[in-house]
């Protein structure tokens, strides 16, 4: 479980995270979404102790990763944004290296994950495609047998087929009881994988709910259609330059059900509108939109 209270991370004058309080419960796949610079990667890096918070508190599986980074990392499998593997080493070398530096590393489990993907363990990492390298990273993260998997935008450089494979493996891990936190821009693709949606923007949590509830509690309404007292979240750009409204309602008679992407777009648009309406407050707080 990840728990934060008033978590703030500032890089010089720019706030990546500002006073965030959240709780990601054990189990399932939590999708961490938001625009570039929303603080997704920063949150994951704070969890694994790669960054130190400027203020606030953070616990990963009950451990403060700042004070007890060793213990926190022992409970985390991490896949970074770019596959930071040794290009001159083979996949097998990586598995052996991981086994040498990580107590309890399950190399056989990692190889099991790679087998069906057709990635030869004797191949040098530099010879693998970006998708294959991401799969190797995921396999190694799974080999740690850690109860928490942090996947930092691993889909960014993958083709659609590789994304599907990657998400399938992540889903299987979650079904086996691993907590998976996945930051991504590929909203349409994570809809089938994620159980929970956490939207970050402007350095804060914009929305946090289960995927099922996110869709069930919102409707997409065309401009000019009857709102019937619906709580409007925001207007957002739909496809083909069509502006739509995201409304908070469980009424089935208004508009149509949203996709997960539309829910996210609606809350990002709301944040943008609020930021535009209150520039003085932002300046006072020192928050700069990325």
């Amino acid at each position: 479980m990840i728990w934060t209270e008033g978590l703030t991370k500032r890089y010089r004058r720019r706030y990546a995270l500002s006073d965030i309080s959240l709780e990601i419960p054990d189990g399932g796949v939590t999708a961490l979404v938001g625009p570039n610079g929303a603080g997704k990667s920063t949150l994951l890096k704070l969890c694994i102790g790669f960054e130190r918070p400027t203020a606030g508190r953070l616990q990963v599986n009950g451990v403060d990763p700042v004070r007890h980074r060793d213990r926190a990392i022992a409970s985390i499998g991490y896949v970074p944004q770019t596959a930071s593997l040794y290009r001159d080493l083979s996949v097998l070398d990586h598995l052996r290296l991981a086994a040498a530096i990580r107590p309890g590393f399950d190399a056989a489990h990692a190889r099991e994950r790679l087998g069906p993907l057709g990635i030869p363990v004797t191949a040098r990492v530099g010879e693998l495609s970006g998708g294959e390298q991401a799969q190797v990273c995921l396999a190694i993260a799974l080999g740690t047998r850690a109860p928490l998997l942090l996947l930092d935008e691993p889909l960014a450089n993958l083709d659609p087929l590789a994304r599907r494979d990657f998400l399938r493996v992540a889903r299987l891990a979650a079904d086996d009881g691993t907590t998976v936190v996945l930051s991504s821009h590929a909203l349409s693709e994570i809809e089938e994988t994620a159980d929970r949606l956490l939207v970050l923007g402007e350095g804060r949590v914009l929305y946090d709910a289960t995927v099922v509830d996110s869709i069930a509690s919102h409707r997409v309404i065309a401009i000019g259609a009857e709102l019937d007292g619906t709580d409007v979240v925001a207007r957002f750009p739909g496809r083909a330059d069509q502006v739509l409204i995201l409304g908070r309602t469980r009424s089935l008679t208004i508009g149509r059900p949203p996709t997960l992407e539309e829910v996210v777009l609606g809350y990002l648009a709301e944040a943008r509108d609020q930021a535009a309406a209150a520039p003085k407050d932002r300046a006072r707080d020192g928050v700069v939109a990325a």
Partner: protein
């Protein structure tokens, strides 16, 4: 053993290069030692004597002197340079390259303890460097014995710090500084340049301190008492009262009286005599031990700081 091999696998190219360079160094120095040792010249003929038995060896002695210049000295330089170069290469590879290529992102997310990760990679590198340094230093001593025949290299201040255990100490210092700078900077080329400058300061500082200590071991005697291998520090003038003063001061006091001075320690008619401040060659083992320790401690201090930096820095 398999664990160590797995941990060191990312550094195999540098370690392989270190071993190859080490073998080249041993071959070059060993070849030079064998070649210089093959000259058939009686040991007595290397001293300042004019023994009649040495006359037939004049030509061979000349050839030997040429061989020392052309073979012995370059080989001695190799025994100094190889451990230093390997120290820099291993030090840069230890962290600067990992950070630059962001492989620390992978390694530090897998290894629960960065301290253990660094220690596991550092210890084998240190051992390689230590073996290389001691081998280079030992070969340097053997070469010194051949470059100045008839003088025990461990009783000889010639090339203090450029041979013997000081090479291992210097290798350690170079490795430590390169590793520390690499950890702090995280980029190979800047780390290399900054390390070069800091290594220069570090080595200069260690030699300066060592020189101060050596001066503390100095004795004063006649010029004739100074043997080959002793470190001559200064030439002085002994006054009739028994005080030792510098030549500048002596000229001010005694002027042209100094022209009659004898260099064999006997007093001139004015009671003045020439004296020499020197460090006997017998003090060499202590001097080289202190210098080696100083260089090694500098390296260990840098390594200790590297652990601190690794604990605190980001992996990218």
């Amino acid at each position: 053993m398999r664990r160590w091999l797995a941990i060191l696998r990312p550094n195999r190219p540098e370690l392989r290069a270190a071993v190859i360079l080490g073998l080249v160094m041993v071959a070059v120095a060993g070849g030079a030692i064998a070649y210089l040792g093959s000259f058939d010249i009686p040991e007595e003929c290397f001293g300042p004597s004019d023994l009649a038995l040495c006359n037939p060896y004049q030509a061979v002695r000349f050839a030997y002197g040429e061989a020392v210049s052309n073979v012995g000295n370059p080989a001695a330089i190799a025994t100094l340079v190889v451990p230093i170069v390997v120290g820099v290469v291993l030090g840069i590879a230890l962290l600067a390259r990992e950070l630059e290529q962001q492989t620390t992102n992978f390694a530090w997310s897998i290894a629960p303890s960065r301290t253990a990760w660094l220690r596991d990679r550092l210890v084998p590198m240190l051992l390689v460097l230590l073996v290389l340094g001691l081998a280079g230093g030992g070969l340097g001593d053997l070469l010194m014995g051949l470059r100045q025949r008839g003088v025990d290299p461990w009783q000889n201040f010639e090339a203090l710090g450029l041979r013997g255990p000081a090479i291992a100490g210097a290798g350690l210092m170079v490795f430590g500084i390169a590793g520390l700078v690499g950890a702090a900077v995280g980029r190979q080329l800047p780390a290399l340049l900054i390390s070069g400058a800091l290594i220069g300061f570090g080595v200069y500082g260690a030699f300066a301190v060592s020189d101060g200590w050596v001066q503390g071991d100095a004795e004063v005697g006649t010029y004739d008492q100074v043997a080959i291998g002793d470190k001559v520090l200064d030439s002085l003038v002994r006054t009739p009262e028994g005080a030792y003063i510098s030549w500048d001061e002596a000229y001010q006091r005694y002027g042209s009286e100094l022209d009659t001075l004898n260099y064999d320690g006997t007093s001139s008619a004015t009671g003045l005599s020439v004296a020499t401040r020197y460090v006997p060659g017998g003090k060499y083992p202590a001097a080289v031990a202190r210098l080696s320790g100083l260089l090694g401690l500098g390296g260990l201090a840098a390594i200790a700081l590297t652990f601190v930096v690794v604990q605190r820095r980001r992996p990218y």
